[in-house]
C-alpha cells in the first residue's frame, strides 16, 4: 500500500486511524454520500491491530463467518478501495482543532494541515503496562505487553523468550499463551488477580484448556527477579481486597513476563480537543450518533470504550461514519432527548444519550459476574440475561416502542440478580 503524496487541502470527512473502527467509519461515510474522505494511520499498512491478530474468530457477527484478523481487515479495505478514498499511512496526526483543522505529518507529505467537514476519531487503544500496576522488583528486559509480543511473533518472526509467564487474563494474553505454545515457548501459567477471568470464555477454553495451560485466579505477580533479563517471578494468592498473601508466595523460573492487564483508550487528541471524557470508559462522551461534545467530531471503537469483539467496533464505527457524512451534508438527525446512566452493577454505558424516535444499540459492561440476572432500563423495559461477566459486553436494543409512554429525560440501567422476582412476575 502506497501512502498518497497529494493531499487535498479540504476533505468532507477525515478519519483518524485505519484500524477496524477507522475503516468502517470511512466506508460508511462514503456510502452515505460524501465526496472526499481522508483516512490517516500511523502504521505503514491500514488494518490497525488486526494485522497482528493472525488467529481466527473475527467476523462471526458482522460477516457470519470466522475470519482471521488480516482477512477481516482486508474485507473492509477491499470495499474502501472500490470507492474514491485518500489513505495516508505512516502518517501521524499532531493536532485537531475544535474548528477541525487537522495537522498531520508523514514522510511522503511532510507536515501539512487539512480542513475537515467532520472528523471521526478512531485511534484505538494502548495496553496497560507494568508501570501502571507497579509490580515490585527489578527492571530487566523480558517484561513486555502481550500485544508487543504478538507483534514480534506474528509480524516479525521473532520470539519474546523461551519460557513466558503471563500476568492478566485479557484476551491478548490468552491468545498469546496459545500462540507461544505453538511456537515452542513454554507457558507455565496465566495469573489473574481477579476471582474471574478477564478474557472471553471461548478464549479460556480454546487457548488455555485445550493446551493444558493453567489459569490461576486470585493470584498475581508480586516480584520480578533478574538483573539483565528476567530470571524468575514470585507469585502469590490475593485476598478479597486483592492484597497478596506473601506467606503463600512461590517463585516460577521464566525469562519472560507478558502483561495482559487491560487496554486504555488512546485519547491524547481527544484531550487536546477538550472533549468531555467519561471517567469510567476513559473515552469521550458520545451521543447516539457517536458525536462527541464537539460539533462535527465523532468517535468510534476502542477510543470510546474497550470492546470485546471487533464486530461491535465495526458496527459502532459504521454508525459514526454515517453520521459524520450526515453532519457534512446537512442531514443531521434530531438531537438526543434521553440521558443514560450506569446503575447497579453497570460499569459503563455507551452511547451516553439516546433519542426516543429511533432504535439504538446500547453497549454495557457489568462490574461483577452474575449467573442469572435482570437487565432493567429504568421502569420502561426489562429482560432476562444469563452469565454476564465483566469481560463480555452486554448489548441492548432500545426500540422506540419502549419509550412511547416515557416522558423523562434520563434512564438508569441496572443489571441485578434474578433471585429477585421480575416486575412482570410481581
Amino acid at each position: 500500500m502506497m501512502s498518497i503524496t497529494n493531499l487535498q487541502d479540504q476533505y468532507d470527512v477525515v478519519v483518524v486511524g485505519a484500524g477496524p473502527g477507522g475503516m468502517a467509519a470511512a466506508l460508511a461515510a462514503l456510502r452515505t454520500g460524501v465526496d472526499s474522505v481522508l483516512m490517516v494511520d500511523r502504521e505503514v499498512e491500514p488494518g490497525g491491530i488486526l494485522n497482528q491478530c493472525i488467529h481466527n474468530g473475527f467476523g462471526l457477527h458482522h460477516f457470519g463467518e470466522e475470519l482471521t484478523g488480516p482477512e477481516y481487515a482486508q474485507r473492509f479495505l477491499t470495499d474502501l478501495l472500490d470507492h474514491h478514498i485518500d489513505i495516508a499511512t505512516d502518517c501521524y496526526v499532531l493536532d485537531v482543532t475544535p474548528d477541525r483543522l487537522v495537522t498531520l505529518m508523514s514522510p511522503s507529505v511532510g507536515v501539512r494541515q487539512v480542513l475537515a467537514g467532520a472528523v471521526v476519531l478512531a485511534m484505538g487503544a494502548r495496553e496497560r503496562t507494568r508501570g501502571a500496576i507497579r509490580i515490585p522488583g527489578r527492571r530487566p528486559s523480558g517484561v513486555m505487553t502481550a500485544g508487543l509480543a504478538q507483534k514480534f511473533v506474528n509480524q516479525m518472526g521473532l520470539l519474546p523468550g523461551r519460557r513466558a509467564v503471563i500476568l492478566g487474563s485479557g484476551d491478548i494474553g490468552l491468545i498469546m499463551a496459545r500462540r507461544m505454545t505453538l511456537e515452542g515457548v513454554e507457558v507455565p501459567g496465566v495469573f489473574e488477580i481477579m476471582p474471574h477471568a478477564n478474557g472471553l470464555t471461548r478464549n479460556i477454553v480454546q487457548c488455555l484448556h485445550d493446551f493444558d495451560i493453567p489459569l490461576h485466579l486470585s493470584t498475581t505477580v508480586v516480584e520480578i527477579h533478574g538483573r539483565d533479563r528476567v530470571e524468575k517471578v514470585t507469585v502469590a494468592p490475593v485476598d478479597e481486597r486483592l492484597q497478596p498473601d506473601l506467606s503463600r508466595a512461590r517463585t516460577i523460573k521464566c525469562d519472560t513476563l507478558l502483561a495482559s492487564i487491560g487496554l486504555i483508550p488512546e485519547n491524547e487528541l481527544s484531550q487536546k480537543l477538550g472533549l468531555r471524557i467519561d471517567p469510567t470508559t476513559a473515552g469521550p462522551v458520545v451521543s447516539s450518533t457517536m458525536e462527541t461534545s464537539r460539533d462535527g467530531v465523532f468517535a468510534a471503537g476502542n477510543v470510546v470504550h474497550i470492546h470485546d469483539l471487533v464486530d461491535f467496533v465495526s458496527q459502532e464505527a459504521l454508525l459514526a461514519g454515517e453520521n459524520a457524512a450526515r453532519y457534512v451534508t446537512g442531514r443531521r438527525p434530531p438531537a438526543d432527548n434521553i440521558k443514560l446512566n450506569a446503575g447497579t452493577n453497570v460499569a459503563s454505558v455507551v452511547p451516553h444519550t439516546i433519542s426516543s424516535d429511533r432504535e439504538h444499540t446500547v453497549y454495557l459492561r457489568v462490574r461483577h459476574p452474575l449467573e442469572k440476572s435482570w437487565l432493567r432500563l429504568g421502569e420502561v423495559y426489562e429482560k432476562r440475561l444469563r452469565y454476564v461477566v465483566p469481560a463480555e459486553m452486554v448489548s441492548l436494543k432500545v426500540r422506540p416502542r419502549f419509550l412511547e409512554h416515557f416522558h423523562g429525560d434520563s434512564l438508569t440501567i441496572d443489571i441485578v440478580p434474578r433471585d429477585e422476582p421480575g416486575r412482570e412476575e410481581m
Binding site: 500511523r42 505512516d90 501521524y92 499532531l94 493536532d95 495537522t103 505529518m105 508523514s106 514522510p107 511522503s108 507529505v109 511532510g110 507536515v111 494502548r126 495496553e127 503496562t129 507494568r130 508501570g131 501502571a132 507497579r134 515490585p136 522488583g137 527489578r138 527492571r139 530487566p140 528486559s141 523480558g142 513486555m144 505487553t145 500485544g147 508487543l148 507483534k151 514480534f152 516479525m156 518472526g157 521473532l158 520470539l159 519474546p160 523468550g161 523461551r162 511456537e183 515452542g184 515457548v185 508480586v222 516480584e223 538483573r227 539483565d228 533479563r229 497478596p244 486504555i264 491524547e268 484531550q271
Partner: protein, 481 residues
C-alpha cells in the same frame, strides 16, 4: 601512558572527564556498563538543588551552591535541558516552621538570592494544588531540574569530541603499582596511568581496596521513584519538599524537565549495592507522603517506577581528593546533592590534580559547545515543518507518546546510543505512557540496521539483557547469559 584514568562514567566521572579535556592531557574514562550514566545517575531525581538545604560546614554544602551556579552555562554550552523551576519546602505546624527558618538562614548566609519564607496566601497563589493545611514554605528560586542521563551523555560527548578516550563494558578488576604510576586492569586491558580518579559510585569502596585503602567505606541507600502521566503536568510548578528530618529530605513532588511529575525518592539502607528493586512498601509510602503534599496525586497515574542506590560515605559527606596512595584520588560518597555539585566537584578535583603536579596547560582548541539535539516535541509546528522539508525523517514518528521522530533516533545512534535504553534516555522514545509498547520494534530495527546486526543482537542495556530470540534459537543452545 595515560595522564589520568577516571573510573566510572556516572555524572561525576563524566563531569571530571569534560573538565580535564580543557588541558593538554591524555585522559581515559572506563565504565563497567555499556553506556555512561546507566548506574545511579540515570535513577536520580534530576533536581539541581537551590543550595539552601545543605547544612553549613560540610563539603556537600559548599559544593552544592557552587555547582548550582554552573548548571545554566553548562546546559547552554552542551545543549541539554535545564529549567530553574524553583523549590518550596513546606511546613504543616509550628515545629516545622522552626526548621524552615533555619533553612532560610542557611540560604542567606550563603548569599543565595531570593530565599524567603512565604505565608499561606502566597503559597495558595503560587501553588494552588498544594495541601491546604500547609501553613508556611521556604521559596528557593535558584533550584532547577535537568534530565540527569542527558547531562551525562552531553558531558561525555563533549569530552570525547575533545579527545577523551572512552571505554565502556570495561569493569575495573585490579589496580597495581606500576613503574612510574598505577596500572589499571579494566575490560581485559592493562592501562598504565599517572593519576587514577575513583568515581565508581557505590563501588568506590571496592575500587579503593584494590590499591589497599581501607577508606572510604561506602554504604548503599536505595531510593525508589515513581513517574506519573503527563496528564498531571502543571499540578505543581516547583519541586515540593516536605520539612526535612535529620535523616532525610523526605518524599518530594518533582516536575521533571519533560513535564511529567515524579514522586520519590525513598531512603532505605541496603546491603546489596546493586539492589535496585522497587517494593510494594516503597510505592505505598511514596504515594501516601506525596499525597500529603499534593492531594491530587494518585497511583492511577503511575507510568513507570525505578530505583537507584546512593553511595553514602561513613561521615555522610563527600570524599574528594588525594589519598595515601600516590596518584590515587577519590570522588566518592557522592550522594545527594551530588548531581547539583557535580560541576564544582569536577573543578575541585582538577585543581587538586594540578596541586599534585599534573600539568594543566590549556588546550586552545578546546571545544566548549555541543549542538543541541532536536526534540520534535519541544519545537513549534513551524520549525518542525521546516525540518521535515529538509529531512523527511523528521516527519516520521517513531514514538507516538513522546513525539520522537526517526531523525532523532538516527541522531541518537550517531551520538553513540547502542542499546534500547541508550536510545530511550537520549530521545525519550519509549519513556511515555505506553512504555515502549508501540515503538520498541522500530527502535530495535534502527539499532540493528546501524550495527549491521539482527534484532536478536539488540539489548535493553548491554550484555545479557537480550530482547528477542530468533525462531532457530529455541532449537539451539541456550543464549549465553
Amino acid at each position: 601512558m595515560k595522564d589520568v584514568t577516571i573510573i566510572g562514567g556516572g555524572v561525576i566521572g563524566c563531569a571530571i572527564a569534560r573538565e580535564l579535556t580543557r588541558y593538554r592531557l591524555d585522559v581515559l574514562l572506563v565504565e563497567s556498563e555499556v553506556e555512561v550514566g546507566f548506574g545511579t545517575s540515570k535513577s536520580n531525581s534530576g533536581i539541581i538543588h537551590g543550595g539552601h538545604h545543605t547544612e553549613p560546614g560540610t563539603l556537600k554544602g559548599e559544593l552544592a551552591w557552587a555547582g548550582n551556579q554552573r548548571w545554566v552555562r553548562l546546559a547552554q554550552e552542551l545543549g541539554f535541558g535545564f529549567r530553574r523551576n524553583g523549590d518550596l519546602t513546606v511546613a504543616f505546624d509550628e515545629s516545622d516552621v522552626e526548621v524552615l527558618e533555619r533553612i532560610a538562614l542557611q540560604g542567606r548566609e550563603r548569599d543565595i538570592p531570593g530565599v524567603e519564607i512565604w505565608g499561606p496566601e502566597r503559597i495558595r497563589l503560587e501553588e494552588p494544588n498544594l495541601n491546604q493545611d500547609i501553613i508556611a514554605a521556604v521559596d528557593g528560586p535558584t533550584a532547577g531540574v535537568v534530565n540527569p542521563y542527558e547531562a551525562c551523555f552531553a558531558l561525555i560527548e563533549c569530552a570525547v569530541a575533545n579527545g577523551l578516550e572512552l571505554r565502556v563494558n570495561a569493569p575495573v578488576t585490579a589496580i597495581e603499582q606500576g613503574a612510574d604510576g598505577l596500572l589499571v586492569h579494566a575490560g581485559g586491558d592493562e592501562i598504565p596511568t599517572r593519576f587514577v580518579i575513583n568515581a565508581a559510585g557505590v563501588h568506590a569502596e571496592k575500587v579503593a581496596r584494590m590499591v589497599g585503602l581501607l577508606e572510604p567505606s561506602i554504604r548503599g541507600r536505595k531510593g525508589e521513584e515513581y513517574l506519573l502521566d503527563k496528564r498531571l503536568a502543571g499540578i505543581v510548578q516547583r519541586t515540593i519538599f516536605p520539612c526535612p528530618t535529620p535523616n532525610s529530605k523526605g518524599i518530594l513532588v518533582i516536575p521533571t524537565f519533560d513535564g511529567t511529575i515524579m514522586v520519590g525518592p525513598t531512603a532505605q539502607a541496603v546491603e546489596d549495592l546493586d539492589d535496585v528493586t522497587t517494593t510494594a512498601v516503597g510505592a505505598a509510602s511514596t504515594f501516601d507522603l506525596a499525597r500529603r503534599l499534593v492531594p491530587g496525586i494518585s497511583e492511577r497515574d503511575c507510568i513507570a517506577e525505578f530505583a537507584g542506590v546512593r553511595a553514602v560515605a561513613a561521615d555522610n559527606d563527600f570524599v574528594i581528593g588525594p589519598t595515601s596512595v600516590a596518584g590515587f584520588f577519590n570522588a566518592a560518597g557522592i550522594q545527594s546533592p551530588g548531581l547539583t555539585a557535580a560541576p564544582a566537584i569536577a573543578e575541585l578535583l582538577v585543581t587538586m590534580l594540578g596541586d599534585a603536579g599534573l600539568d594543566l596547560s590549556p588546550r586552545p582548541e578546546f571545544r566548549r559547545t555541543m549542538p543541541r539535539p532536536v526534540h520534535a516535541a519541544s519545537i513549534s509546528i513551524g520549525e518542525l515543518t521546516e525540518l521535515a522539508e529538509r529531512d523527511r525523517d523528521f516527519a516520521r514518528v517513531v514514538c507516538r507518546c513522546e513525539l520522537v521522530t526517526e531523525a532523532e533516533i538516527h541522531d541518537a545512534i550517531r551520538r553513540g546510543a547502542r542499546t534500547l535504553d541508550g536510545l530511550k534516555f537520549r530521545t525519550r522514545a519509549g519513556m511515555g505512557r505506553c512504555q515502549g509498547g508501540f515503538c520498541t520494534p522500530r527502535c530495535m530495527q534502527l539499532l540493528a540496521a546501524d550495527a549491521d546486526g539482527g534484532m536478536s543482537d539488540i539489548t535493553k542495556r548491554g550484555d545479557g539483557s537480550w530482547l528477542v530470540l530468533d525462531r532457530g534459537d529455541l532449537r539451539g543452545e541456550e543464549v549465553p547469559a
